[in-house]
Point group: C2
Chain length 243, copies 2
């Protein structure tokens, strides 16, 4: 029997840690939505959202649809992660599946709007249980890509609003990297990279003193696909164009 | 009807330009083997080697098999490139295909041993005709990845023998990048990167004066797959381990 083709999506969002108090300033954590399986193999285990590729949809379209069905949202960032197709993948005895996996990021302003689809639960990325199939391995790889990429690309923006303070940007880096980042070094590196530009506006209020607002330089593409990059479009549903 | 899953491989080798004289020192060019199609769609056009994924083989195994059947060789370097699965890919009217594409590199010492399978021809990467399906786009993307990667990873090694002179390494960069590279700058960058180490041996003979031989630092993996990296193996057929 020919292998079945499925598309799954690792969806990352920064959300406050639900176990801590809701005090202002609670440091957010990386979360991802998972779907409980209701049949064998791996009945009752959590799995990445996704399913078979439909006849009339492209791979990235299938990943976007999965995200919409799981969270009610459109991604700020969507990129193909990897195709997993070892002949001995866990669960293969029930029929072999090749999974093309995408990873997506949801912005801070959208994350609290996320609906939770049926049988869906958000779990903290660093406290996952044993997932179905090889999905722990896939999440590990997606986390590694996120951590690698946050250091050299403007991907952290996908977790932020259109404008942000350097403190907010640094906190995204700290959450993603899982370690403190020195504020002065961070400011120096970000300013030297030229990746962010001051908006001339200032954020006031909250616990902190007024801070400069920045935005990313939109001339830099977050996903560098070279000759595969889509033509510039104005459609808000063009996931790979949205900064 | 569910989309069919195929695995194709872009195979790069550095070979002398067959149009120029065979004089010693002829600068090599990037070549890739293509297979002529003998049925619709795209009957008579050249296409990337590959075919449907077999029931019992993994994606990377299928890419290795394709390479072996097309050239009689095992790759020095094999990496997953991208999964192409737009619903409107050229040829979809004859049945939709999702292609997981790998790219491979063949070393200088193997390239001249390559056999040429039936209906196979080697074509120069910069002078390709109109290929079947979207294969020109796929080759363009693979070339872009090769050019991007040669500047920051030790991938050029896959085109060289175990040891090489800095001139040989620079010539690989020049062929891949398609432009001259300043020898003094190149030497400075390579030495600063720490990616190559002197062997203490010298190459004599040929047109040039004796030159230091170098090898790559094998502690650096050519394909950085993070948590997906295979366990170290001693099998010579382990394609992702071969430096």
């Amino acid at each position: 029997m020919a292998p079945t083709l499925a598309v799954s999506t690792v969806i990352f969002a920064l959300r406050p840690d639900e176990r801590s108090s809701a005090a202002v300033g609670t440091r957010p954590q990386l979360w991802l939505p998972l779907v409980v399986r209701l049949r064998d193999p791996f009945d009752g285990r959590w799995a990445l959202p996704g399913g078979p590729l439909r006849e009339d949809e492209g791979l990235a379209d299938a990943a976007s649809r999965t995200l919409l069905e799981t969270t009610g949202l459109r991604p700020n960032y969507l990129e193909q992660l990897y195709a997993f197709g070892d002949a001995d993948r866990p669960g293969a005895e029930h029929g072999r599946v090749v999974s093309v996996v995408y990873w997506a990021m949801i912005g801070a302003e959208e994350a609290h709007l996320a609906t939770t689809g049926q049988n869906v639960r958000w779990l903290a990325a660093d406290r996952l249980p044993d997932l179905a199939f090889d999905h722990n391995r896939i999440v590990d790889y997606a986390l590694w890509r996120l951590r690698t990429k946050v250091e050299y690309s403007r991907i952290a923006h996908a977790f932020l609003g259109e404008t942000f303070t350097l403190r907010e940007l640094r906190e995204v880096h700290e959450v993603v990297l899982g370690k403190p980042v020195d504020p002065a070094n961070f400011r120096r590196q970000v300013e030297a990279s030229g990746a962010v530009v001051p908006t001339g506006q200032v954020r006031t209020g909250g616990r902190h003193r007024p801070a400069q607002l920045y935005r990313y330089d939109t001339a830099i593409e977050p996903v560098d696909l070279g000759p595969l990059a889509p033509e510039p479009q104005k459609s808000p549903t063009s996931t790979e164009e949205t900064p």
